[in-house]
Amino acid sequence: MAETEKKGPNRRAVLGAGLATGALAAGMGRAQEADPLITEVQDWASSFGDPVDAAPYGTPIRFESHVVRRNVEWLTESPVSSINFTPIHALEGTITPQGCAFERHHSGAIELSKADYRLMISGLVETPMVFTYEDLMRFPRTVTTAFCECAANGGMEWGGAQLEGCQFTQGMIHNMEYTGVPLRLLLEEAGVKPEGKWVYVEGADASSNGRSMPLEKALDDVLVAFFANGEALRKEHGYPVRLVVPGFEGNMWVKWLRRIGVYDQAVESREETSKYTDLMADGSARKWTWVMDAKSVITSPSPQAPIRHGKGPLVITGLAWSGHGKIDRVDVSLDGGKNWQTARLSGDVKPKALTRFHLDIDWDGSELLLQSRAMDETGYVQPTKDQLREIRGLNNVYHNNSIQTWWVRADGEVENVEIA
């Protein structure tokens, strides 16, 4: 590949592009010299490109090599019980490619084949059952698009602006189109006894992460999924089978799903007592805070996506979502929340899924304090961080769905800030 980089046309391309940008930035409107990228025959316009099958399963072109998951090493003690972040600053639309969708493992991503896969339903059921992967493939399927957000997304920001970039502050989220079997059908196959009120789900990995949810949720929209974005789940997302729990915190989306237990009470596992509970200022704690409230963030401009083109037309783009249903509206402020204007919702708005918004402005080159504010179909309005702190104090870790502020400086660089 290094050879390609050394070829002449590419070097000329640098010069040409540099010239063009320089001319525009100087406000001259058109280049003084004709663009060699246009006037000279480029290598790629004359010789062959790659043949078919050069990459039987394609990966992004090398120019996009910066668009990857990233972690913050000091956050956790071990990379097998850790998290990384989706590069949402570099993505558009709403679907997150599996290859850069954030990972959270409690004991590492395990390799489990379809042939070795078993799913058990036990507890308060008429017939405890075992299903193979092939059995699951023979149940009627549905398709659902849903966001999966870690409850701790934004958790590092409770105490103040901490990390520089929406990949790190809001990137514990992804949004995929899943295909799978409604959990309801599997529960019906086993036959839930009348005293069964809770469904406990756990994985096959060493952490055997288990969470309890009310039977009503399990019978509603929960999916036992085996495809994401049209292909098999990736290993790191629970291949071959994971749970999809629309609107609920990511910790409940158990990967490598191994057992579904029906109980008359919550199991009160480690992940729903010691962790994923919300410590309030008075020392009491909320538990069972499953739903992810409405939230939004401007993904560009943002610290990792500065404005490099100078003043003039500027696309402000971001994501909004709500675990309670559809996004109804997103407002954007350029002045830290003093004045707001309503952004466009682009594409389909789906319940409990990411919604893309855009606002096109004519940037005058002055400083901005950019914010976005989501509203969902229940009428809920995304709060400020101070509003949440007033109720919850500073010791909350999870469920920070507050408004994010980006400070856009006159030079186009962007910082994560708090304002008051």
């Binding site: 592009a17 913050v72 071990s78 405890p128 009627p140 790190f168 480690r270 229940t378």
Partner: protein
């Protein structure tokens, strides 16, 4: 297929995808009792799922030292950022609350279940039922909740209540928050003068690209067009020349008792550092041959910037340098990734260096 047929097919598919019938498909098979017993091991607050067995505090202390203390500390106090399991009483309203089994966890069943099913980290499902009772008893003791002659068993399990059992309530956001955050929001002149009160750059804890920008910053389009995408930050790290000849290792003179003592001390390190045959980098670099080796030179480990700078400056891990570093890692090297508080006792430091010296590069 005609358009109307396609439409019909769609309708049928939709209906089939959301069946209201509760009739069974006949797919799958009944689970055998021994299969259910193998996988259905969850333990509930009322004791449901607990197997026969028992264990005492003394035994628990021994098992804990062997299987748990390398991360959680000899007294369940937690090493580095690994979970603290004891103490923290009355800290839940502090700015830095310490959430332990004694201060925060509501149910003892959770402790037993988690130990039995998910611990030790990296060797789950190797703790027997009796060991789980013993470790649980020891954790209760560490929290001052039972005396040292306490024996925990299936029979008395539910008699033990944790102090914070009443500290939890089900999600009340629907009452406590949603009414406050619902309604038509302000659109104009909503706030007075605003100023920036906090900047993330002041904390400087974000991963960075080689150019000092936040990691993953989009490259300028002019560069991308040339295919000259910023390369990962490997060059800087890779150019440190090994200087292994600099200091002779002290293996030859190592005292077996000292080495043995060092092996024990190393338990505090081994959650992050591996030694011995086939040792690989983990949270920290593998340490075979580290005594006498050039700093920052273990292949494939991404060192902190200060460590890279020290390596370029020719730092070699002599006994003295290691001793100084281990006594106070962050004081010796500000910005090191090693999040270890340090070894307080000189004997421990000497012992662990002697132990490390037995592993050649």
């Amino acid at each position: 297929m005609s358009k109307s047929l396609k439409l019909l097919a769609c309708t049928v598919a939709l209906t089939a995808a959301t069946p209201l019938m509760a009739e069974k498909t006949g797919l799958g098979r009944p689970a055998l009792p021994e299969e259910v017993a193998a996988w259905d091991v969850a333990v509930l607050p009322d004791g449901t799922g607990l197997p026969e067995g028992s264990g005492d505090v003394f035994t628990g202390d021994e098992v804990f030292a062997e299987k748990c203390a390398s991360c959680h500390g000899d007294f369940a106090e937690g090493i580095d950022n690994w979970p603290v399991l004891a103490g923290g009483q009355n800290s839940l309203t502090n700015r830095r609350p310490v959430k332990t089994v004694g201060s925060y966890w509501p149910y003892l069943s959770t402790v037993w279940d988690y130990i039995h099913r998910s611990m030790p980290f990296g060797a789950a499902q190797t703790v027997t039922a009796d060991e789980a009772y013993a470790i649980t008893a020891f954790i209760l003791y560490s929290n001052g909740l039972v005396e040292d002659d306490f024996v925990l068993s299936k029979e008395n399990f539910t008699e033990v209540r944790l102090p914070n059992e009443g500290g939890f309530r089900p999600d009340d956001r629907a009452e406590a928050e949603y009414p406050l955050f619902t309604g038509e929001p302000c659109m104009a002149d909503c706030a007075g003068d605003l100023k920036i009160t906090k900047r993330a750059v002041d904390l400087n804890v974000t991963p960075e690209d080689p150019d000092g920008k936040p990691a993953g910053t989009l490259p300028p389009l002019t560069l991308a067009a040339a295919g000259d995408v910023a390369a990962p930050a490997e060059e800087a790290a890779a150019e440190v020349a090994p200087a292994e000849e600099a200091v002779a290792t002290e293996t030859a003179a190592a005292d077996p008792a000292l080495v043995e003592a060092g092996e024990k001390v190393f338990k505090k390190c081994k959650a992050c550092h591996k030694v011995g045959d086939g040792a690989k980098n983990a949270t920290g670099p593998m340490l075979n041959g580290i005594v006498g080796k050039a700093a920052g030179a273990v292949d494939g480990f991404k060192y902190s910037k200060p460590m890279q700078a020290a390596a370029e400056g020719g730092l070699v891990w002599s006994h003295e340098a290691l001793a100084e570093f281990l006594a106070n890692p962050k004081g010796y090297m500000k910005g090191t990734k090693m999040s270890f508080a340090g070894l307080k006792k000189a004997e421990e430091i000497d012992a662990v260096i002697a132990y490390l010296g037995t592993f050649g590069g």
